[in-house]
Symmetry: C2
Subunit: 414 residues, 2 copies
């Protein structure tokens, strides 16, 4: 614990410096961080090999190994990511509103950094540079806690970034990594209330759940996406097929992919066979309710659990509904409030879906796969919030800020 408190204190001190830093100075540091990653890519690759060897010895899957692996190209991409963040507008200092009160006070609402952000994440080491850059640009100090599988890679990356920001005139403790990857230390981070302004978990459902259970610091819940596509009775067949194939198959392992297809009974007989055929090349397993089961050539019966599961795989739950009301009710009951889409040609049904579906991103006639900071035009993404407090949906630089009221008086008393 004493180590974390030391880190917390150093982070707070750096945060005070960072909050005041000029945009040009921050951008310059980001460019130096980027250049340093490329200049030292051999060091990173060497550290990464240690992680890869350990992972192989532990018999991890090929998919996991691929997530962990860093090569010249991936380091190049990381470095480019830092340059991209340097190009983004600096949210800090922006005054969103300014008004005069009855007492003739002028009040401005100004964006300020959150302070110290904790990020707890899993295997992919590119998150290290990415998260560090976003926190840095938004004027926040960051304490990173990556997975133990990537500890050597993460340590190498953070050391390089720290050296770069120090050379650019910043305290190196603005970016810190917890190198003790024990579960105990992770729990302590979740309760570092005096020093952390917010903790953001990035990873699978288990990680999120652990953080939810143990954190006493404010957290932003991210990521879990049990997303739905509802094909309305008035939907265009080709559009519906394209959207469901894209939402399910373009990248099933990510949170914005679809897990459940709801379809209006009026079009189920015509549409489901076409959709089954379109999904066939991806070998999607269909888990269907009794009505859909009677239509599909090859499907298994869905269980209650299937409606609430984020499969993250080539599996799709399918249910035939009698009305848009039934579809919306199903979604609001089972979804994780991430992203949902209706395919429809009916104006009023689109309006109703927008209004009544209680999720972070509600689509008419588009794939749920667009829920992403880059696709939304934020230029960056630290995660996708599925909670309602502070930030909802894709979080970019703006979502890493708070505000303060600056008030101009001329002697007013109350």
């Amino acid at each position: 614990m004493s180590d974390l408190i030391t880190m917390g204190k150093a982070a707070k001190k750096s945060a005070t410096f960072l909050a005041q830093a000029d945009t040009l100075l921050k951008n310059n540091a980001l460019k130096q961080m980027s250049a340093a990653l490329i200049a030292h890519d051999a060091t990173i690759i060497k550290a990464n090999e240690q992680d890869l060897n350990a992972a192989k010895n532990n018999g991890v899957t090929e998919v996991m190994l691929d997530r962990l692996k860093l090569d010249k190209n991936r380091i190049q991409a990381m470095a480019q990511g830092l340059l991209d963040v340097a190009e983004l507008p600096d949210p800090i200092g922006h005054v969103s509103e300014m008004w005069k009160t009855d007492a003739n006070l002028t009040i401005g609402k100004q964006q300020v950094p959150l302070g110290v952000i904790g990020i707890i994440y899993e295997s992919r080491p590119n998150v290290t540079a990415d998260a560090a850059a976003l926190c840095f640009k938004s004027g926040n100090a960051v304490i990173l806690r990556g997975g133990k599988e990537a500890i050597h890679s993460n340590s190498a990356i953070v050391l390089i970034l720290q050296t770069a920001i120090e050379q650019a005139g910043f305290p190196k403790d603005a970016i810190q990594l917890i190198t003790d990857t024990s579960r105990e230390t992770a729990r302590q981070l979740m309760q570092l209330n005096r020093y952390l302004d917010v903790l953001i978990p990035r990873g699978g459902a288990t990680l999120i759940q652990t953080v939810l259970e143990h954190a006493t610091v404010p957290i932003i819940e991210t990521g879990t996406g049990n997303c739905h596509v509802y094909i309305d009775g008035s939907a265009d067949l080709k559009m519906a097929t394209d959207i469901i194939v894209n939402a399910k198959c373009s990248r099933p392992s990510v949170c914005n992919s679809a897990e459940t297809l709801l379809i209006h009974r009026n079009v189920a007989n015509t549409f489901l066979p076409v959709i089954e055929e379109a999904l066939a090349p991806y070998q999607v397993e269909l888990r269907a309710d009794s009505s859909a089961l009677a239509i599909f050539k090859t499907a298994v019966e869905a269980t209650e659990e299937d409606w609430e599961t984020e499969f993250l795989d080539f599996i799709l739950a399918v249910k035939v509904v009698d009305s848009i009301d039934e579809a919306i009710k199903h979604i609001n009951q089972y979804s994780t409030k991430h992203s949902e889409s209706i395919v429809t040609s009916n104006y009023f049904n689109g309006q109703q879906f927008h209004r009544e579906v209680d999720s972070a991103a509600v689509y008419i006639n588009a794939s749920t796969r667009f829920t992403d900071g880059f696709e939304f035009g934020f230029g960056a993404e630290i995660g996708i919030s599925t909670q309602k407090l502070h930030a909802r949906g894709p979080m970019g630089l703006n979502e890493l800020t708070s505000s303060k009221y600056i008030i101009f008086g001329e002697g007013q008393i109350r």
Copy 2:
């Protein structure tokens, strides 16, 4: 626990209804709630007498009794408060931004209710109607948990409000009161994660601390205010005196009153005697550092603890500083990040104070007492947030909302 779960389920269901409710319908209900309070004032006063008698038997102070007491005038004021909330603009449905993405999607960011709000508060029964109205207008269901001293008053008020909203076409469970005022039940409310979207404590430091320690639901920390006034070397004597007297003495029991006076050494000798004289009619106890102690006629020596204490009383800690930097450093170390003010004629010192003081409301030449939802022009206040996540400073209707992205596509896939 089973009772709370039943209440949570009913609240969630009501929240779905409320989120869709027309502004006119909500305003109409608020007017009926207002009229019902006046129509049934005798019932409220009778229930309040039960509370007052119990309080007298428990030997509570006159101040507490006065806080608890309801009479025709106070009920009239509560009823007027509901009419005022009806007049405020409805934040729900407002689209703050709308833009086109590279994929030609149109994305709008729309304000939606948070869902179910828990409010845990202390003795004053007028908070019941006030909090219920703000949650209702912003489309949220509310679960109230007031102090046990006011249980009869609160029960009477909630029953009247429930009947009124039911007659106006709303589910009565949109406003619920926990009548079991045991500590155990309060703790259960703090962990009702499945049903509560946020819990807002309103009350003293002990209540806030208890909620911070036990809550697993998202909370908004409110209220504790260790506020500072810094008198700069260039300050106007009369303005400085007026502001410190107002900030300390106009209502010392509230969170936006000042607790510490910092003063630049260059003016300490001239200003402190004048300030001591101005504070004398209020019998303010001065707790001074050694420099100030040497100047004051009557003062005691300040302890380290005094710098971090919210006195909420006619007590003022006073410290002489050598520079604005020392003043800002002291504030950022000891304040609860609520409200701070500089009195200065120097443009650059004002700028520096605004920039470097890390608090919710940072004033130049005005009393800290203005930190208040009504004074800020929000027309209402549910509390003053001293945290950085979600909301900071006075919280009105806007701060009781979240957002969702509504996306208009024409078949886009990624």
